[in-house]
Amino acid sequence: MANIELRGVEKKFGDVFAVKPLDLTIKDGEFIVLLGPSGCGKTTTLRMISGLEAVTVGQILLDGRDVTWLHPSERDIAFVFQFFALYSHMSARDNIAFPLQAAGMARHEVKERVAQVAALLRIDHILDRKPGALSGGDQQRVALARALVRRPAAFLMDEPLGALDAEFRETMRAEIKKLHLAQHATTVYVTHDQIEAMAMGDRIVIMSAAVVQQVGTPTEVYHNPANLFVARFIGSPGMNLVKAKVEPDGARLPGGGLAPISDRWRRALEGSGLEDGSVVLGFRPEAVQVHDGGALRAGVYADDLHGGYTMLHLELADGEIIHGRAARDAMNALGSAVRFDLDPDMMRFFNPETEMAILS
């Protein structure tokens, strides 16, 4: 098992940065997720750790050993690809045994190891089938088994659930995480799906435009996003973000309503040096509390059932749409007016110029 350290690692393709200088320490046994939209540099970062891509500048250390210029095979890591990369002419068993045979391991030992890992992933019954005859979920299980069987120092996974149907994805998500809990191997996991990242990551590294936006636990990135990008990207839907003005009695929303601010935030906002009190106010859908005595008003733009709850889409006086989570029987007629309050503890503020969060 190993820790991984990236020191000032960057990657340029020609003059374009794929990854801007990045420092990151991944602790032994940690499950870390690189999250971001396509083209943000997360896969490139993963590939640099694996050695499939060379760094332009910087150092990569595995357990304190400089591996920056080592060939992938010399790094003692395993890579799981999105499209499984199984050898179609070999049975699942041979696929799994392949890396061990490459290392010249004795036959009986190979057999033993394959049996172990197959039991762990519950794929014993499909070992003799060819990949073509397996479902997507089973193919990915075989691919995982092939990675696991080597007992590498670290696992690198590049959107391993991306090619699976929704129904398999949820199950496999839990399986991979349980596997990690059982093995505690250092894992770097790349995804563009924020739900996957939240559900699986011990910590999440959120990237956009080749730059790391925030590194934090799921709770941190959800409740205290470092900037507007993270606020929008995490959550489904993302954080509501509206232009507001800080006044003595609270935050003035577009279209007039006044939302009270807690003392803690009042102090933080006073110290933030904002010129005319203009801020971006952010709040999660669950901070919206619809009730008849609410101080704020909006019209119902649309509402929809999500199974266990209803999502209200409310139109503020200036046409801005915000989302609020409500009880599942709270269906309102389209266009009708509703009143609501915002939970003062769940309000967050951002500097409209720098787009960075104001810290309390």
């Binding site: 939209p37 396509s38 149907d165 929704a166 129904e167 949820e170 998500r173 839990a174 995480k177 349980k178 809990l181 563009h192 799906d193 924020q194 739900i195 939240m198 559900a199 699986m200 799921p218 709770t219 959800y222 409740h223 929008r232 990207f233 995490i234 959550g235 489904s236 839907p237 993302g238 999660r284 859908p285 669950e286 733009y301 649309a302 929809d304 059932l305 999500h306 199974g307 266990g308 999502m311 889409h313 749409i321 989570r325 389209l334």
Partner: protein
Amino acid sequence: MSDVRLENISKRFGDTLALEGISLHIHDDEFFVLLGPTGAGKTTTLRVIAGLEKQDDGHVYLDDRLMDGAQPADRDVAFVFQQYSLYPNMSVYDNLAFPLRSPLRRLPEGEIRQRVTGAAEKLRITHLLERKTARLSGGEMQRVSIGRAIVRQPRIFLMDEPLSNLDAKLRESLRVELKHLQKTQGSTTLFVTHDQIEALTMADRIAVLDQGKIIQNGTPFDIYDRPATTFVAQMVGTPRINLIAAEWQDGAYRTPGAALSFARQNGAAAEKVLVGVRPEDVRPGAGDFRGEVMLVEPLGVETILHIRTGEITLLCVVSGLSSIQLGEVLSFGFAVERLHFFDMNGRRL
């Protein structure tokens, strides 16, 4: 007025039966969703209505007129495809104007301009009108596709998974916009999807399809709260419903692999049943059962707990961030009035 009726539609492709006796009635102004897995026959149904595919059996009525022999062009329906339906050699404006310039309509250019700009405003794509379609993002393309349907003012909008090629954020916002548009325009819409969230959030009514047959037809609440089969129960809701096999023993349904028991609900009289419990109906903290937390998935707005009891792992959703830790042993109960009972063939009891 627009009103679509399918009577007993069947369709074969070679040896496979794609549709088997599909009957549907879509009312004026209704947002109707066909929900089902890949290969269920959703798209085929849509194509039969559009006239792009000819049914082997049964009838299609549009506004009570029999349409079985009519060409696609004569049916006055609009089709929004999953992808690839904007003409790459034309500008956005020409794409939107294309249906209005068809030999069937041949509207004067003045009126075309009016309708195109009107639709563009509604979809907020006015700034894109002069662009070539190849230079649009996925979301913009799909908006233009929808715009091309709107300018026609057709009897019915047929939409074939129009959101499924977009990324999650975009899908979310277009979903809301589409629903708002449909409600304010009052346009009859038949929407095909395999995404249960799209179905639940947008539909007035949902028909769940599987292997060419309609399994259940009802409002989102009907489908979610009273699923007709285990298939439907598993199809809607995320995380998925827990299905637990139980046997009648000593005055309750008990599970062989775990110490769970469920009181008999009215009507459920079988010896062996499958009990369906939605994850939000598993209530940790208080209750008669105990289990160990095997996995915690904090999604921010809610937290998914995997609770192991005996040989069974139950999924449980609690709102917000949970203080429950991995490995914790806790007691839990069920929202008894919201349990679902199915017979061993998966039919609701």
